[in-house]
Symmetry: C2
Subunit: 114 residues, 2 copies
């Protein structure tokens, strides 16, 4: 498993992307999906996940749809129209970030330390 500090800044974007891709999801499902997609390398903790979801809701990025499934409460989250544009923006940022990281990781030494 990857160290959690790496994931920190991308947590919100990951959640938003999954919501856009899957229509609507509940919290527990999001953690399962992330583990599945990354072969267990990324695991979200609930202490991080729920506060982020609640914040996104308060910002009008997503809305909730509580449902009952087998006497268990499932709170589905889905993007608002505003949320969709936020996802687009965040995904663009994430792509640029990944590109920038690769530029650094693949950089060759300068000529300044011959």
């Amino acid at each position: 498993m990857l160290p959690t500090d790496l994931i920190k800044g991308s947590l919100k974007t990951i959640i938003l992307k999954l919501l856009e891709e899957n229509g609507r999801m509940y919290g527990y499902e999001i953690t399962r999906k992330v583990e599945e997609l990354t072969a267990g390398k990324i695991k979200l903790t609930y202490g991080a996940l729920y506060p982020v979801l609640h914040k996104l809701e308060s910002e009008g990025v997503l809305i909730t749809e509580p449902e009952n499934f087998n006497n268990r409460i499932r709170i589905y989250y889905l993007l608002t129209p505003h949320g969709h544009s936020v996802v687009t923006e965040k995904l663009k940022e994430l792509s640029e970030f990944i590109e920038s990281l690769q530029l650094i990781v693949e950089s060759k030494p300068g000529l300044n330390h011959a």
Copy 2:
């Protein structure tokens, strides 16, 4: 410029990678180099940079070589043997992280919301 929260978790690895690639660097030089490599998309703040450098020094990952250049003090940082193995490890983690992010970003919808 990219939002700083994205960069957070990768800061240490970025610094270590640049030190390995360039032999030795001083703090100001590191910030210049990161801006140069990423076309201004990533900018390190000194309030983040120096504490990280000092911590890496206290952990035995790097050592310092203060030098005088034009009456200005430059504190060069260079990796210890231990530091080199840390870089290798951190870069591997970062690569896995990037791969994981791409798996999520490129993921297609599940069949569960027909």
